[in-house]
Each structure stands twice: as structure tokens, then as C-alpha cells.
């Protein structure tokens, strides 16, 4: 049972439970937030698989832009069916305790793992994959240049299409 495997199993548990949360939640806003959490866990899986660029695209495009768009439309349509305000009595104490645990953990790591000269610990050589990223960029802009440009045209077409769809129709006299 290596550390990798434990991390994988915990993350897999989070991914599956958030997916089920999205499936079963009655409230559309909760569904969207569960899905954000799911996307972030999948991004961590990409990091574990040695694909940092995809992980960051996942967080910025999926968890960021796409889900904000979803939440925006949910609010716009008023499709969320908010249940009667139910106050969870244990929520605030638990959140406070967890916040203290996080602060203690972060401080502990920063103090014990810092370098002798007092700096914050350097990332491992394996975590520092700039060469990998550079090679990926070179590949993307040489062998895959045409698909890349086609994608940008596709995004432009989608944008124009959305504007045409949403625009108010002017009466033609």
C-alpha cells in the first residue's frame, strides 16, 4: 500500500461520491457545485498521470469557465428549487475545527520541511515539469497546428452562434 495508492483511493472516493451527489441532488445549484468538485478531483488525477497542462486547462476551462456559465444560466432561469432553510447545527463547529487543522498542517509543513536556510521547500525535480510543458507546446504548434487553428475557428463560430441565438429579434417592417 504505497502513498500513491492511498491518495488515488481517497480521490476516487471523492470523485465517485460527488458524481453521485450530482446525480441525486434535487437542487440544480448543488448539482453544479458537486460537479465542480468532481472536475477538480479529475484535475488532480491528471497531475498524478503526469499531465500538468491538461490539469490546469481542466481547472480553468471546466471548473472555472464552463461551470460558471452553468451557474449563471441556473440563476438566470430560476431553475433552482431551494429547499426550506435547514440549519445544520454541526456545520459551523466542524468547519472551524477543519480550518484550524488546515492551518496547523500548513504551518507544520512550512516549518519542518523548510530548507536550512529558512526558505520554503523547493518542489521535487519530478514535480517541476517545465521541459515536458515546453515539448508539449512545441508539439501543439507544429504537428497539431491545423487542428489548433480549426479549434479557434470553432470557438469563434460558437460565439457568433450564441449571440445570434440569444439576440432579440427586430421586427422587420
Amino acid at each position: 500500500m504505497t502513498l500513491d495508492l492511498i491518495l488515488f483511493l481517497i480521490l476516487a472516493l471523492i470523485a465517485i461520491s460527488t458524481a453521485f451527489g450530482m446525480l441525486l441532488s434535487r437542487n440544480a445549484v448543488y448539482c453544479a457545485l458537486f460537479l465542480v468538485l468532481n472536475f477538480v478531483t479529475v484535475a488532480v488525477f491528471y497531475l498524478l498521470l503526469g499531465a500538468p497542462f491538461i490539469a490546469m486547462s481542466q481547472i480553468t476551462v471546466y471548473a472555472g469557465a464552463i461551470m460558471v456559465l452553468f451557474l449563471f444560466v441556473i440563476m438566470l432561469l430560476g431553475a433552482e428549487s431551494l429547499p426550506a432553510a435547514e440549519v445544520l447545527p454541526w456545520q459551523k463547529p466542524l468547519a472551524t475545527a477543519l480550518a484550524f487543522v488546515l492551518a496547523a498542517e500548513a504551518t507544520f509543513l512550512l516549518i519542518t520541511r523548510a530548507r536550512p536556510e529558512g526558505r520554503v521547500l523547493q518542489p521535487d525535480a519530478s514535480a517541476n515539469m517545465m521541459d515536458n510543458l515546453r515539448a508539449l507546446g512545441a508539439e501543439l504548434f507544429s504537428r497539431y497546428l491545423l487542428p489548433f487553428e480549426v479549434t479557434s475557428v470553432l470557438l469563434l463560430v460558437a460565439m457568433v452562434g450564441v449571440i445570434v441565438l440569444i439576440r432579440k429579434e427586430k421586427r422587420v417592417h
Binding site: 498521470l49 501543439l140 440569444i166
Partner: protein
């Protein structure tokens, strides 16, 4: 190193949950979110297979990652257009329940 099979099983589970969402939910927005979940599961399998190939080759192999990048870009375009359509449907029917969208019936 985590066996590649674990990722594939996880991807299959996530894809199945997405399918369940598409089949059981009636809110068009939630169905759309389930489709996104399925796309994500497919992406995870893609990156996992790319990693397996990379390990087998013993050198960097980016094709899988680049395809996933394209899938993410196309998904962004798809979400924009799909949400615009849902807003339009809501404007004309005042509902996004997919069971209500039956005006083409008969």
C-alpha cells in the same frame, strides 16, 4: 505507480453515473451536466492510456494529452451553444423539463 486499470475502472464508473444522470433526470440543465461528466470520464481514460503508452515507449508522448486539450476546447464551445439553446427553450416554454418538449410529437 498506480495500475492503469484503476483509472480505467474509475473512468467507467464516472461514465456510468453520467449515463444514469442523462437517463433519469428530467431537468435539461442537469442532463447537460451529466453529459459533461461523461466527457470528463472519457478524457480521464484518454490521459490514462496516453500515460500507459508513455511508460511503454519510455519517452514523452503528447498525442493523448493534446487530444484531451481539443476535447476540452470543443466541450467549451458545445456548452456555450447548448446553454443558449436551453435559455431559448425556457423563454418559449417557461420550463426546461425535457418531458415538456413534445411539440414535434405526432
Amino acid at each position: 505507480m498506480i495500475p492503469i486499470n484503476y483509472y480505467i475502472v474509475l473512468s467507467a464508473i464516472l461514465f456510468t453515473i453520467g449515463t444514469l444522470g442523462v437517463l433519469t433526470r428530467r431537468n435539461a440543465l442537469i442532463i447537460f451536466m451529466s453529459v459533461e461528466l461523461m466527457l470528463n470520464a472519457a478524457n480521464l481514460a484518454f490521459v490514462a492510456f496516453a500515460r500507459a503508452r508513455e511508460v511503454a515507449l519510455g519517452q514523452p508522448f503528447f498525442d493523448g494529452q493534446i487530444f484531451v486539450f481539443f476535447v476540452i476546447a470543443v466541450a467549451a464551445a458545445e456548452v456555450a451553444v447548448g446553454l443558449a439553446l436551453i435559455v431559448e427553450i425556457f423563454k418559449s416554454k417557461r420550463s426546461i423539463d425535457v418531458d415538456q418538449m413534445s411539440s414535434l410529437k405526432g
